[in-house]
Assembly symmetry: C2
Homo-oligomer: 161 residues x 2
DNA sequence: GTAATACTTCAAGTAAACTTGAGGTCAAGA
DNA sequence: TCTTGACCTCAAGTTTACTTGAAGTATTAC
C-alpha cells in the first residue's frame, strides 16, 4: 500500500505515481501524451518523468470530460497554456473562464430542453416542424455523425398517432 | 422537391419519408431498427413501412441524444412504451417525466461543476484529494472507459506547482 | 416500357477514447 | 543471483453510433 510512495520526495513523478495520484490508468497517460494533452521528459533509463503540474492538467482534463467536452477541444484549450514556463494561477484562471462559458452554454441548452420536454412530448408538436425541439438552437448535432437535414416541409400532415 | 410527398395520403410511411420528415439518414433508421429502437413491417415488395408514431419516437430519440443519453438507455426507456397498442399521451408523458429527471440530474451536475470550477482551478485544491471536483458526486465517469480509481492517498504532498 | 429513383441486405469502414497484449528493458529486494 | 514489479514500444482490440459501398430488387415517372 505504501510502496508507491516515492523514497525521494522528488519534484518529478513517474508515470505510475501520476496514475495513482490522478486516478487515470497508465495507458491513458500514455495516450494523453501521444495526443499532446500532457508532456514529459525521460530519465537516463528512458522512463517518463512528469512535472507535478501534470496532476492539475490531468484533473482539468477529467473535469472537462465530465462536462462532455471532447478531447480535441480540451487539447486546443490547453494549448493556451504556456509550454515553457509553469502556468500561473492566471493562466489556469483564463482556462477556467473559457470552460465556464462552455458549461453555461451546455447548461442553458439542457434547461431549455427540459422545460420544453413536457410541452412537446405528448402534445404532438414533436412530429411537426414547429416544435422547438425539432429546430435545435444548438449545433451539437453537427459534431459527429447524426441528423443531417431538418425537415424542410412541415405542417402538411395532421398529427394523428 | 415535391417528389417525396406521397401521392396517397397514407397512414404508413416509407423509410425515405421517415428520413426526410425526421431528419435522420435512412441508414440511421435501419440502424435504429436493428438496435430495437424503432420497428416496422414490410409491404409485399419487402420494403419497410412505418406507423406515423415512429416520427415521434425518432424525435424523442434525438432529443434524448442531444442531452447526452446513450442509445442503450434510450432503448431501455422506450421499452416502457407499449409494443402492441399505439402509445397514448399518457405513455409518452411517463417517458417525458423520466427524462426530465435525468435532465435535471445532468443539469445539476453541470451547475455544481461550473460553480466549483473557479474555486478549484487556480487555487491548487484540484491536485489534492479534498477538491470536490476530484470526488465526483456523479457516476458519469463509470460509464465507458475512463478513470478507474480515485486517489486513495492524498494530502501528503504540498501543492506547489 | 424503360430509365431513374428508392429500396433491400450485408459487410466493412470511421471516429473517439481508450484498453489489452506481446515482447523486451531495468532496478531493487530476498 | 534471481525474481518481481514498474517501465518501455507498438500493434491490435473495444465500444458507440453510425456511414459507406456493393450488388441486387422494387417502384415510380415519363
Amino acid at each position: 500500500m505504501e510502496n508507491l510512495k516515492p523514497k525521494r520526495i522528488s519534484l518529478e513523478l513517474s508515470v505510475g505515481e501520476v496514475a495513482k495520484r490522478s486516478g487515470v490508468a497508465v495507458s491513458t497517460l500514455h495516450f494523453y501524451e501521444s495526443e499532446g494533452l500532457i508532456s514529459s521528459w525521460r530519465n537516463e533509463g528512458n522512463q517518463r518523468r512528469y512535472a507535478r503540474e501534470v496532476l492539475r492538467r490531468v484533473a482539468v482534463i477529467k473535469v472537462a470530460q465530465r462536462s462532455g467536452i471532447p478531447l480535441a477541444s480540451i487539447r486546443r484549450a490547453l494549448e493556451a497554456l504556456p509550454n515553457k514556463r509553469t502556468p500561473t494561477a492566471d493562466d489556469w484562471g483564463k482556462l477556467s473562464k473559457l470552460w465556464k462559458e462552455e458549461l453555461n452554454d451546455r447548461i442553458g441548452r439542457l434547461i431549455r430542453l427540459r422545460d420544453q420536454l413536457d410541452r412537446c412530448i405528448g402534445c404532438g408538436c414533436l412530429t411537426l416542424g414547429v416544435c422547438p425541439l425539432r429546430n435545435p438552437w444548438d449545433k451539437l448535432s453537427e459534431q459527429g455523425p447524426g441528423p443531417r437535414l431538418l425537415d424542410p416541409e412541415c405542417g402538411d400532415y395532421t398529427t394523428h398517432m
